[in-house]
Symmetry: C2
Subunit: 146 residues, 2 copies
């Protein structure tokens, strides 16, 4: 299973918990999975419990280092400004995301967190990986709520 | 003690723990203190353990609601993009900060998180409150490290 498939699996697991279906995984420079998690905003009653935040924190605990040098954050949706800045603070080398998020995204839209001189560690960004599946999960979820 | 004095007290406590001295408090619409905390990045080995994130999460737990309607986040330094977006996600009404942070700030500098249409809840921002004390704490801390 590729890391993005793991992230998609976490997104589907989130949907089954009635959470907005977003999933994430963190891999080290050898591609080993350090952590994986899905959105837990409702379960934890914590609006900051995005999949990326949980996976980044778990990955740092797993490696025993607050900096994730060489790591990649995989996430099914373009990160918001909070998660983008967190990826920078945890010093991941790369952020790979699925669907673009023109409404809430913070790397390619809006705050464009990595594109300012204030961002002293800007991970490489790759968007659109397994985009259609990631987007379909979200669309199906919100269609089901209507 | 005003909420900013509480935040400054938390910043001084952080310095005593050898953390970058930044402190925060969250008050409800009546000015009651819901939560207070300082930076714990080193203690928790978690680069996302900024004073604001810890105080916002604790405040939400304290009120039993993930949204802090009418609340104010008080913090000794201009929030970074992560903490700014978190303040938006927790729906605080207002962010009051001490020192401006041209290097790492994310509300008045760089990402300017609240100033994009992607930000669907933009708290009111008041900067420069007890600015000199908040800035002096940081300067003294970094001078001591040299």
């Amino acid at each position: 299973m590729t890391p993005m498939e793991i992230a998609l699996e976490e997104a589907r697991a989130a949907a089954r918990r009635d959470e907005v279906p977003i999933g994430a995984a963190v891999t080290d420079s050898n591609g080993r999975v350090l952590a994986r998690d899905g959105n837990r905003v409702e379960a934890l009653r914590d609006p900051s419990a995005h999949a990326e935040m949980l996976a980044l924190r778990a990955a740092a605990l797993a490696v025993g280092d607050k900096h994730l040098a060489g790591a990649t954050l995989w996430v099914t949706l373009e990160p918001c400004a909070m998660c983008a800045q967190a990826a920078s603070l945890f010093r991941v080398a790369r952020v790979v995301f699925g669907a673009y998020d023109p409404k809430g995204g913070g790397t390619e839209h809006g705050a464009r967190v990595f594109r300012h001189p204030q961002c002293n560690h800007a991970p490489e960004v790759v968007g659109g990986v397994r985009e259609s599946e990631a987007g379909a999960l979200l669309r199906d979820f919100f269609a089901g709520l209507r």
